[in-house]
Structures are given as structure tokens and as C-alpha cells.
Symmetry: C2
Subunit: 94 residues, 2 copies
């Protein structure tokens, strides 16, 4: 009847991050913070969770002399996102 909602995606901020990454292929920490409106601390934690799950890849480097964190969605993450949408539909298409 109702499909289970992936707990990793069923979180406001993580969903927002994934939503950005689905549409832009690559986004850095600052862009994600600004586009989601999240605090840096919260974003840092949620990026780590998505990364640990293999839903996004994270690349840390230096841009000039400042740290720079680039994120992109993985194929696993993309699939999970699509499945989450399918699952959500079972709560509405009736």
C-alpha cells in the first residue's frame, strides 16, 4: 500500500541538497548553503550523511588558499532520489 520512505532522503535539508544536485551536477558548499538556506553546521552534518550513504561524492580541495568542498550526486543517489519520488506518490496518488 504505502511504500517505505528512504529515511536518508526523508529529511528536509538532505532532500533540498539532493534536489539541488539533481539539477546542477556539481555544487560547492557555499552554493548549497545559500540555495538551501541552511546553517553551515547543519549542512556539514547532512553532507557527511549523504556522502557516507554513497548518495553524493564530496571532493575537498583548496581554491586559492581557501578550502573548497565540491559535491555531486552519484548514480546510487540519483536512483534513490527517483525511488523516493515513486514512494512518495503512494501517499498521494489514490
Amino acid at each position: 500500500m504505502f511504500k517505505k520512505l528512504d529515511p536518508l532522503l526523508h529529511s528536509e535539508l538532505r532532500l533540498a541538497v539532493m534536489s539541488v544536485l539533481v539539477n546542477c551536477e556539481e555544487a560547492d558548499f557555499v552554493y548549497l548553503r545559500e540555495s538551501t538556506g541552511a546553517t553551515a553546521g547543519n549542512l556539514s552534518v547532512q553532507i557527511e550523511k549523504l556522502s557516507a550513504a554513497g548518495y553524493i561524492s564530496v571532493e575537498k580541495s583548496f581554491k586559492g588558499k581557501k578550502p573548497h568542498t565540491k559535491c555531486r550526486i552519484t548514480t546510487t543517489g540519483f536512483k534513490a532520489f527517483e525511488e523516493y519520488i515513486e514512494a512518495l506518490k503512494t501517499y498521494f496518488n489514490r
Copy 2:
């Protein structure tokens, strides 16, 4: 950019309960438990939260000699449900 997701609805079980009630106008505890697959304890807690928020009304009585809990969605709840859908869309607009 992203609309805030009503925390009362952004919960798997509460969303399932609301989803049932949107479509059937009245449902009792047992029916909700069976149709959502939830445990009674969890359902009891979440029904109480939805009720406290004014999203559903709860009517307790006896059916024969057994307790009987009837739930229905309120207009407030219905509005909140629709707004939740609208908010969700901002995470998927493509």
C-alpha cells in the same frame, strides 16, 4: 526557493494516516493500523499529535463492549495536507 515542509506532516506514519483520511473521510484505529502497517503504539502516538494539531478529530466510544476510536480529517488538516504537497513540489520542480 524551497518551501518549508510542515514537520507534522513530514513524518512517514503521520503522512500515511493523513493520506488515508483524505480519501475516506472516516477511519477507525484498527483500520488505520492495518492500512498503514504501523504498530499500535506508534499509531496511538501519531494520532494524538495530529489531533493536538487540529489536523484530525478523534472520537472515542464503545462499539458493543470494546473501545472504538474514530478519526476524520479536519478542514485545517486538509489545508495543511494540500500545502504540504505544494511545498514538496518545490523540491522536485523539473
